[in-house]
């Protein structure tokens, strides 16, 4: 009997990984982790079009592995630390299956260039798309963010994730060959010399010293801001609805927390949500990142807890971290101030 159990155990230990392998093949991993942003056929959307032959011809496997692992801090692409090395390999094999191009291999040796001269060349030829400081194009690229005729947003060359992932030689190769199907031209054909290109690479590499400083952490911010109201729930809600108007927000609705879940007559009238919206701010936020709807409409909750009336909201400055989109930073700061002002006015 004991041997029988041992045999079953060994069989399952051996058999399960192969089942897992079949289930978690590259396509499955892609569908779970990448398809939302990069599209079913890798045509892009919020993320870049991975299936572009010229992208796959210039991106090495090392670049793809590092990009998956490190992501692009502040530029939406998350770091997929949860995937095993084997899963990352299967994922890359799947992405490679879209094109017959042979994956390039690059030396890790730095390119010898003059960053001072490279800066001038960069400003003349690259800054228009990539920004003077290498900040890249704006927006995340989904339908509402930009015209679909534009296949790709210029990458942020000053991004720590990019600088870790791209070797000097890969950047140089991209500058020399360009990428068909994107606005990235071959700068050799555009008249730059190989030395000019080396100098640009040296300048782009010099962004590295500033890259870490660009990232900010929001972890010190509390996830929820809670204040105590000196008024009753009803008075607090009335004051809030008045404050909403004075902040140029439109009152969307006032509802009990359990509305739609409980029979109307049995709803808890001491847990109330005040929803409001400024459609101009909303429209701007959706241009930057269509995923922000997760915290829409603007919401302040009034909750009776014992003899206390609490006023609370999810802190936009903390919620920002889930989007990994630094373009939302200033808007989240602005929204936190709006919430604070609304509540301060209501609790006066």
């Amino acid at each position: 009997m004991f041997r029988f159990f041992i045999a079953i155990f060994i069989f399952i230990v051996i058999a399960l990984p192969s089942q897992a392998h079949a289930k978690h093949d590259g396509e499955h991993i892609y569908l779970q982790n990448c398809v939302s942003c990069h599209g079913y056929d890798g045509n892009g959307g919020m993320g870049i079009p991975l299936s572009l032959p010229d992208f796959l011809a210039t991106a090495s496997n090392d670049y793809l592995v590092k990009t998956i692992r490190v992501g692009r801090p502040g530029r939406v692409m998350p770091a997929f630390k949860n995937l095993s090395d084997n899963e990352v390999d299967m994922l890359i094999s799947y992405i490679r299956s879209w094109s017959d191009t042979i994956p390039p291999k690059y030396s890790k040796k730095p390119v010898d260039g003059d960053a001072v001269h490279g800066k001038q060349v960069y400003l003349d030829h690259c800054a228009e798309c990539h920004g003077a400081s290498g900040n890249g194009g704006k927006g995340t690229g989904v339908t509402m963010s930009r015209p679909r005729s534009q296949p790709i947003l210029a990458p942020a060359l000053n991004n720590r994730g990019f600088l870790i992932s791209a070797s000097d030689e890969m950047i140089k190769n991209t500058l020399i060959k360009g990428r068909k199907g994107t606005p990235m031209k071959s700068y050799l054909k555009e008249g730059l010399s190989e030395q000019d290109i080396n100098d640009v690479v040296a300048y782009v590499r010099s962004f590295e010293s500033r890259a870490a400083a660009i990232e900010e952490t929001s972890e010190d911010e509390p996830a929820v801001i809670i204040k105590e109201s000196p008024y009753s729930v009803e008075e607090t809600v009335t004051n809030l609805t008045n404050a909403v108007g004075s902040m140029n927000f439109r009152l969307i609705r006032v509802q009990n927390l359990d509305s739609g879940l409980t029979e109307e007559s049995k709803e808890d009238k001491k847990q109330v949500i005040v929803y409001s919206c400024n459609f101009n701010i909303l429209n701007e936020a959706l241009k930057l990142d269509p995923r922000v709807g997760l915290f829409l409409p603007c919401r302040i909750t009034v909750s009776q807890q014992g003899d206390k009336v609490l006023v609370m909201y999810a802190n936009p400055k903390r919620m920002n971290e889930i989007y990994n989109n630094s373009e939302l930073d200033s808007m989240c700061t602005e929204m936190k101030t709006v919430y604070e002002d609304m509540i301060d006015e209501a609790l006066l």
């Binding site: 991993i29 569908l31 929820v224 927390l257 879940l261 995923r291 997760l294 409409p297």
Partner: protein, 152 residues
């Protein structure tokens, strides 16, 4: 010998229970190869199938277009279990701003995207709350909801 058997069976059960691949993203996102109306219908059915009740659908696109802005279809689906909500209100009011749970649904041409907060992120926001099992359960349920829609 019986002890060995029990130990072996326990080991086997633990092994089988281990997730093959844990996903720990802050957002749960799915691209659905269906139009917006089809996806919306499938999403609501999937939510109900998981034992939740849809409490409201916020029509963000209607608000935007009535204010003069162009937008594709963009809605937010709120859902929750009533008893769980009432229990949390009593025990963990700091979680109220995150409830009911919700999934954002928006069109991208002929496809549709679903986005929601990974409930495990709440465990990071509130590490001291005795809610970690609930967050993990929500995570499993929400993943099942969107996976079912994607599989249609």
């Amino acid at each position: 010998m019986r002890i060995y058997h029990k130990a072996l069976v326990s080991l086997l059960l633990i092994f089988l229970a281990l997730p093959v691949s844990a996903v720990a993203d802050d957002l749960i996102m799915r691209r659905i190869g269906m139009t917006f109306p089809e996806t919306m219908s499938a999403l609501q059915s999937s939510i109900v199938e998981e034992g939740y009740k849809v409490s409201r659908v916020q029509r963000v696109d209607i608000g935007l277009t009535s204010s003069g802005y162009n937008t594709a279809e963009y809605r937010i689906v709120f859902f929750m279990r009533e008893d769980v909500l009432h229990d949390i209100v009593k025990k963990h009011p700091e979680l109220i701003p995150f409830l009911p749970l919700k999934i954002t649904i928006f069109a991208e041409r002929s496809e549709t995207l679903l986005v929601t907060l990974n409930p495990m992120k709440l465990a990071e926001f509130f590490p001291d709350l005795e809610m970690q099992k609930t967050f993990a359960q929500w995570n499993e349920e929400v993943n099942r909801i969107v996976d079912r829609v994607q599989a249609e």
